[in-house]
Symmetry: C2
Subunit: 219 residues, 2 copies
DNA sequence: GTCTATACTTCGATAGAC
DNA sequence: GTCTATCGAAGTATAGAC
């Protein structure tokens, strides 16, 4: 949820995104969400019924958004390698716009989907499915070496999501002087990952085009 | 914490590892930890003082173990590429032995280190530091292309940890028929990642030795 | 749709006997 | 070191007026 929002349900969802991302399902407080959304707590229950339903609604929309963006990338007419570049940039962009996305994804994996119903699990499953489609076609067309699409999915998504989610702890570590990560800027990291994935997936070396301008980091 | 344990504090730590990994700091219940450790709750407080101190103790030992294993890998006399192979296998092995490690790592990143004191943060920082050392030397010696060591760290650790932590949700997705990930076995994934990292880091293609037998997945 | 007040429950932590 | 009993805080949720 980007920033403001006019209507109550939207403001509540935005506040919930911040709270659940920062504290997790169990650590999140309904009172804090209500206060941040500037609505009465009873209003929150009026619209969403329970903390759990609010959480599921948020996650469905978050996962659906990620899956939709990846499907859009896969629907284009670019080369498989360019699509993977674009997929990485897309996930990074999503993480920048919806800052709750990385932490929520990590938490839900760690949680084992404990709070999710079947429908929300389905929304989550659509994310790897969308990316796997891109890789499968690349393998089938001979553009990529023979890799398991799900292995490629984890190799791509995990670094982006973990790196983006680690922003707070990076600051913490920098402030206390324990480790300096300031020299690795987000855009540099995205480019590194794009280069690495290109090399990792290329069928053979000479066939790996140096790079495309298709979709590089934005901000 | 591997399996049983004779003494109370060890049993408590083992139980805490399971509980905190599965439910997170806020979701963990002191009563459940005590019951699982087969000790009285008062005993737990006698040994660890508070839920927070117990958590920090667990995390310090977990992170210290990971860092120590990576330092051991970096201390050998193998080629940088073989060391990276070994580092990946080492983290995967650690995740198999200490099954709480992946989830706890993901959760703490998402949490932004909220419950950690300076000492525990230092233990966490030692993990990337150990791996970065390996990569730095590889870059300096010309074995690797010029990459930011921290970028390589995230590209290596994140897939292993996220894949391993995702085991419960993979089962969930398979059971409900939403997504079949059964065809990607852990060992296959580790090998994929080793191959990918080798290709991603190699200075140029011809210089990338096909593979070493140094340390492949164990189990 | 909106708010106040509150019922009900759970949980971290401790007192105090042995 | 170990146990029972319990306190007090915090949290989800709802009743009921407007």
């Amino acid at each position: 949820m980007a920033r403001p929002a006019k209507v109550s349900p939207d403001r509540i969802l935005a506040a919930a995104a911040t709270e659940f991302a920062a504290r997790g399902y169990a650590g999140a407080r309904v009172d804090r969400i209500a206060r941040r959304a500037r609505v009465n707590k009873a209003m929150l229950y009026y619209h969403f019924g329970s903390k759990q339903q609010l959480y599921r609604t948020l996650l469905r929309s978050t996962f659906a958004q990620a899956a939709e963006r990846l499907r859009a990338v896969g629907g284009g007419s670019h080369s498989p390698a360019d699509m993977v570049d674009a997929a990485i940039a897309t996930i990074a962009d999503l993480a920048r716009e919806e800052t709750h996305f990385p932490a929520i994804m990590l938490r839900e994996v760690a949680e084992g989907g404990a709070h999710l119903d079947r429908e929300t699990l389905g929304a989550l499953a659509a994310v790897p499915a969308a990316f796997a489609g891109i890789v499968s076609r690349g393998v089938a067309s001979g553009a990529f070496r023979s890799v398991h699409p799900m292995a490629a999915y984890f190799s791509m998504l995990a670094p982006v999501v973990l790196y983006m989610a680690a922003a707070p702890i990076r600051r913490e570590l920098a402030d206390t002087g324990l480790l300096d990560l300031a020299t690795l800027r987000p855009d540099d990291f995205v480019r590194h990952l794009q280069d690495s994935m290109r090399r990792a997936l290329a069928r053979d070396v000479s066939s790996a085009p140096p790079q495309s301008r298709l979709k590089r980091p934005t901000s």
